[in-house]
């Protein structure tokens, strides 16, 4: 732990749970009640409102204020002494020994998550006023956004696994609704279904994991689970392999929601939704739920190092895999989507190596700058009249200066250029990985950093610099976006600049470590990780230099290729380069054929299998049923044929029957 030092507070950690005071209870409840009320009112009244956002947006601003107040109280005011508060709303499922309460839980991790979620959520709401201004169905949009905020807040506030699962599904629903917001587009209708279904695949694991937790530990409440676990492990009630199993199952859920390989396929398609949705749900908040889940379950994962290695491997593989696709995509939102995948991979890598704090740190900063980038891209798309293909953009920096500058800041941040936010968090992820003995993670991570810088500046170059490829009809109408859109961009840009420094300094003893130490202390204890002094002029410094260097290399390379600050871009060079490695280019361009593979496996082959089942049902099972009926009738017709209408035949029947009976009786009766 890079030089971090925190006082081993005996009260720190999960044990220090107190019942929420009435004020906190009210505020926590309001956090959930307000958005759901906003949702309901907007659904009921929205169509009749001249300004459909009039309920939804103020609601979320209030929610943001409450969340910020609570979080600041907890993190800076240290109101709960690093511990947690819990409050019971009511008993949700009282099924005998299986009793699940609607409990809310608030500790420092929750506080950090709340800050990220509500801040970006609030900004996106405001931004949407402008972005959706001309959409006839915008009341639905704001209603869905409120529903999403409710679900996401429930997700971070939930005090037990089942409630998290419930929220997990609800964010999935919101995501489904918002991806399919433009339902008349067939692609949107397909994308939201795909998103929901792929998520459900992961949810199987999550659900089974929850069941496993209940059957092994006997409760689903976070605090109780974490409390009971050590004793039960030590006492042999629970075998270690069970923990590995539980953790892997939970991780399945996380993989689905956070779109980790191979369940990553839904996220790029989810870009069919309106851009604010992509920013809020598919970049800054919902997709982080998987990271949050693993972080929240750190005491469990800490007991299952085998599972953690898999987490790290999946994470870092997704990081490089997604980055490789982001290289060649033409759709501006898809580049960002793959970038999101890649960054989420970083977070999982961090979780996997045991750098819990680093993962959350990156989650927070990534939320800010990726939210910024998406909103910026939305501004661009808006500016060029709903065009998403970067080949039809270029040289927009003069026409959309605010968008340009804010996105440039975002790109620098994600590339990891000091002193922007991404630098601090990414450096911490990579540094921790190296120092905790996962040099392979670090090595791949460094490569990914290089790639990240490259594709981000490719995006910037193709969009804002070089020659304009904008449709000539549209060109004269390209304009900067309204203030409701630019102001959130500016705020996020400012945050991208300062958040990293605020949270990440001083190096080795950063604010965020202080905040999260109580949360992750038990996990670290279990894993036996101990803080080492930070060596700015030793290993830590060297690692910083390496990552900054690779980021710069990537940035400069893109810079040169995509014509920064030049009139003419060098697309010829790019073409020549790609022509030299056609296989790689095509592979990357086609996302390594994963959509095709899925189509083959699940649509074609799966469809055939389902057809076969249906055939079996109709022809074999129902065929057997009808067959019995037909057979019976046929038998009846056959039997009836003996009814010939001729008296002699009938008499023969009687005589035959008589002889048969007589013979039987004589045989039986005289034996």
């Amino acid at each position: 732990m890079g030089g971090m030092s925190f006082a081993a507070d005996p009260h720190a950690g999960i044990a220090a749970v107190t019942q929420a005071g009435s004020t906190e209870q009210l505020l926590l409840t309001l956090l959930l009640v307000l958005p759901i009320v906003g949702f309901t009112l907007t659904v009921v009244l929205g169509r009749r409102l001249s300004r459909p956002w009039i309920i939804a947006v103020p609601t979320i601003i209030v929610v943001w204020a409450i969340a910020t107040y609570l979080s600041v109280q907890a993190l800076i005011g240290d109101a709960f002494h690093g511990g947690a508060i819990q409050t019971t709303i009511y008993e949700w499922i009282p099924a005998g020994a299986f009793s699940v309460s609607f409990d809310l839980f608030f500790d420092n991790l929750t506080a950090v998550m709340l800050l990220v979620v509500t801040t970006i959520g609030m900004l996106v709401h405001v931004y949407s006023i402008g972005y959706m201004a001309h959409d006839p169905g915008k009341w639905r949009f704001f209603a869905y956004l409120n529903l999403f905020m409710f679900s996401m807040l429930l997700l971070v506030l939930a005090a037990n696994f089942l409630l998290v699962f419930a929220a997990w599904e609800l964010v999935g629903l919101s995501s489904y609704l918002l991806i399919g917001f433009w339902y008349h587009k067939r692609s949107a209708a397909l994308a939201n279904k795909k998103a929901f279904l792929v998520n459900r695949v992961g949810d199987i694991g999550f659900a089974l994991g929850i069941m496993a937790i209940w059957t092994t530990i006997g409760t689903l409440d976070f605090v109780q689970v974490f409390d009971l676990l050590p004793a039960q492990l030590a006492g042999g009630h629970i075998e270690q392999w069970m923990m590995v199993g539980i953790c892997l199952l939970l991780f399945c859920g996380a993989m689905g929601k956070s779109a980790q390989f191979p369940l990553h396929v839904w996220l790029p398609d989810a870009m069919e939704g309106p851009t604010p949705v992509s920013a809020l749900i598919h970049a800054a908040t919902m997709v982080n739920a998987g990271v949050y889940l693993v972080a929240r379950s750190s005491p469990l994962f800490a007991t299952a190092p085998e599972a953690l290695i898999l987490v790290a491997a999946v994470g870092i593989f997704t990081a490089i895999f997604a980055a490789s696709i982001a290289f060649t995509q033409k759709d501006i939102k898809r580049v960002l989507a793959y970038s999101t995948l890649s960054q989420l991979g970083y977070m999982f890598a961090a979780l996997g190596v045991g750098a819990w704090t680093a993962a959350i740190f990156h989650l927070a900063t990534h939320g800010i700058f990726k939210g910024l980038l998406f909103l910026g891209s939305g501004s661009v798309i808006h500016g060029v009249h709903e065009e998403q293909d970067m080949d039809k953009m270029g040289a927009l920096r003069r026409k959309m200066p605010i968008t340009h500058w804010t996105m440039l800041i975002g790109s620098l941040a994600i590339a990891g250029i000091p002193p922007l936010a991404g630098f601090f968090s990414k450096d911490e992820v990579l540094g921790e990985a190296f120092k905790l003995g996962f040099q392979w993670v670090w090595l791949i991570g460094v490569v990914v950093a290089l790639m990240t810088a490259f594709y981000m500046f490719r995006l910037m170059g193709k969009t804002f610099y070089g020659e304009s490829h904008v449709d000539p009809h549209v060109e004269p109408h390209v304009h900067e976006s309204p203030p409701t859109m630019t102001v959130p961009l500016i705020i996020l840009a400012v945050l991208s600049v300062v958040a990293g420094a605020y949270l990440g300094l001083p190096l080795g003893d950063s604010t965020i470590h202080h905040w999260l130490a109580p949360v992750f202390h038990p996990a670290l204890e279990t894993m036996g990780v101990h803080a080492e002094p930070y060596q700015l002029f030793g290993i830590d410094g060297a690692l910083i230099l390496v990552s900054v260097a690779v980021a710069t290399i990537g940035m400069v390379a893109a810079w040169r290729m995509f014509g920064f600050f030049r009139i003419h871009d060098r697309l010829d060079t790019v073409r020549a380069l790609t022509a030299r490695v056609p296989t790689l280019y095509q592979g990357s361009f086609h996302k390594w054929y994963f959509d095709e593979l899925n189509d083959l496996l699940f649509v074609r082959i799966g469809g055939r299998v389902a057809d076969a089942f249906a055939w079996f049902d109709v022809h074999i099972i129902d065929g057997a049923v009808n067959g019995v009926a037909t057979l019976t009738r046929r038998a009846g017709d056959e039997v009836r044929q003996s009814q010939t209408g001729r008296v002699q035949n009938y008499a023969l029947g009687i005589a035959g029957g008589l002889i048969l009976i007589a013979v039987i009786l004589l045989l039986v009766g005289t034996r």
Binding site: A95, L173, H184, R186, A188, A189, L197, A207, D617, V625
Partner: protein, 522 residues
């Protein structure tokens, strides 16, 4: 609060529809308005009576069988000797499970009757009489505590449903209705043999005295039938109930019946009739033949798992809306039987919950299909598309129930399914893991259906309907609103159900010899 303890409230609930049906018989058939009013009034009275029973349920005294220790768990018990020759009683009683199912029945029947005002144009009187008799039968099944009485109600249900599908159904209705009746009869007639055999065994052991031989409470208290008898009788009961549920591979009557039945018929079929099977298992088959139930549980669990997965997979490729939902019922009802036969507290509670919730949600889905059908006279998915635009309210409501059916937390479908999962996992993680795959398959068929109907551009077929394609009218909203509300209420506050069924479930598990499983933490 009205005190119902002095009234023969259960008999009132059972026979109120009969009174209505008889009254209807004297209403001239061409006075459709009066016919509808009488029918609606009858169902409303029955609904109110059942709600009164529900309100007074907590305060009502539990019946204690003379000569036995402890409560029987049933309230409002009424006992009248019926056929003394065989010791057959008219004995009805109510526990939490039957209370829920009765209220579900009265609610859905009322809704169905209201819904039918529009679509049913021919022979309205006969239709309403059939519905009322159907209601009588269904309520009777849920309340009967005498095996013979139970069987009689069980068979009574058959006739009106036969007529409803056969007279007011679709093109291929006769095939469907005869299949429905014959299939059900095969099972139920064998069950009759088992009932009689059980009673006789009791009588013989009791020195030739028929007293109490058909009485569930007496038989349950006596217990301990010979294993061979248990096995055969259980198999007979199993057949009857498995066909009704319907369990794989006895399910093929269901898609046909659903496709051909009129909307309200489908609602009742899916909402209540399928529950008769699950209820039969819980109320009769398990307490009477616990040994056989244990012996055969493994097979039944496997069949349930097959039903869950298989039903969902087959639903994926159904071109007809009603068929799709019918197969989804096969899958959903698989959870009921799975939950029952793992003999675990949570699973059993989940199974009961699932029965109620499936009744509400699938009933609502069929009503939604009816809304489409009334406007398009078609149910082919391939012809639908983009209904969100011309009929937004409908699309919203339909989507709501689609997600409820999908098991979205917070809505009714989730809790039951999850409890079954949890309970199953505690007994057999492998079974739970297999069943869990339905989470994806259910998503595939439900979302596919929803996408085909609500999303995309408006299909040419629908465009051709022009102004006939109106959004839901007031009656339709009125019928779906209670189900909408119940879906949310039972999703957010399942305790409303769970508290009621805790006692019966515990009793059943004790009778089965499976002590309620407790987590390690109290």
């Amino acid at each position: 609060m009205i005190d119902v303890s002095g009234l023969p409230i259960l008999s009132l609930i059972i026979f109120a529809p009969l009174v209505g049906a008889i009254a209807l018989a004297f209403v001239p058939g061409d006075n459709v308005r009066l016919v509808k009013q009488v029918a609606l009034a009858t169902t409303l009275v029955t609904l109110v009576l059942s709600l009164l029973a529900a309100v007074g349920f907590g305060a009502a005294a539990e019946y204690v069988l003379p000569g036995s220790e402890g409560s029987s768990g049933f309230r409002y018990v009424e006992t009248v000797p019926w056929i003394p020759f065989f010791g057959i009683l008219y004995r009805v009683g109510m526990d939490g499970i039957s209370l829920l199912l009765v209220v579900l029945t009265t609610t859905l029947t009322t809704i169905s009757v209201v819904y039918s005002f529009g679509p049913i144009k021919t022979r309205v009187k006969e239709y309403m009489i059939s519905f009322l008799v159907l209601e009588l039968g269904m309520i009777g099944v849920f309340l009967a505590l005498d095996l013979f009485l139970f069987y009689i109600f069980w068979e009574i249900v058959l006739v009106p449903m036969y007529l409803i599908i056969g007279i007011w159904g679709g093109a291929n209705r006769i095939y469907a209705t005869i299949k429905f009746v014959l299939y059900t009869l095969v099972g139920s007639l064998l069950m009759l043999v088992a009932i009689l055999a059980t009673a006789f065994t009791f009588q013989a052991a009791n020195g030739g005295d028929w007293t109490g031989a058909f009485d569930l409470l007496t038989l349950r208290a006596a217990g301990g039938f010979d294993p061979t008898l248990q096995l055969f009788c259980f198999i007979a009961f199993f057949l009857a109930f498995a066909i009704k549920v319907p369990m794989w591979p006895f399910h093929t009557w269901l898609p046909d019946a659903h496709v051909e039945a009129p909307t309200a018929g489908s609602v009742i079929l899916a909402g209540v009739l399928l529950k008769l099977g699950g209820y039969g298992f819980i109320r009769f088959a398990l307490p009477l033949y616990p040994q056989a139930a244990h012996d055969l549980a493994g097979i039944i669990v496997v069949l349930s798992l097959i039903a869950i997965i298989y039903g969902a997979i087959v639903a994926i490729v159904q071109p007809d809306l009603k068929k799709l939902i019918a197969y989804s019922s096969v899958s959903h009802m698989g959870f009921v039987t799975l939950g029952i036969f793992v003999f675990q507290e949570q699973a059993l509670q989940g199974a009961v919950l699932q029965m109620i919730n499936h009744g509400i949600i699938t009933g609502a889905l069929f009503l939604c299909v009816g809304v489409i059908y009334e406007r398009t006279h078609d149910r082919t998915l391939a012809r639908m598309g983009g209904l969100s635009k011309p009929t937004p309210v409908f699309a919203g409501v339909f989507g709501f129930f689609v997600f409820a059916s999908l098991g979205l937390p917070g809505l009714a479908g989730f809790v039951g399914e999850f409890l079954v999962f949890v309970g199953t996992f505690a007994v057999s993680p492998v079974a739970a893991a297999i069943a869990a795959f339905v989470m994806v398959f259910a998503g595939v068929y439900l979302l596919w259906m929803f996408q085909r109907i609500a999303f995309g551009p408006v299909s040419d077929f629908l465009k051709g309907l022009g102004h006939h394609l109106t959004d839901m009218d007031r009656t339709e909203v009125l019928t779906l609103a209670p189900l909408f509300a119940l879906t949310i209420i039972f999703g957010l506050y399942p305790a409303a159900i769970l508290d009621l069924i805790q006692q019966p479930v515990t009793d059943l598990l004790v009778a089965l010899g499976s002590a309620p499983a407790t987590g390690l933490v109290p």
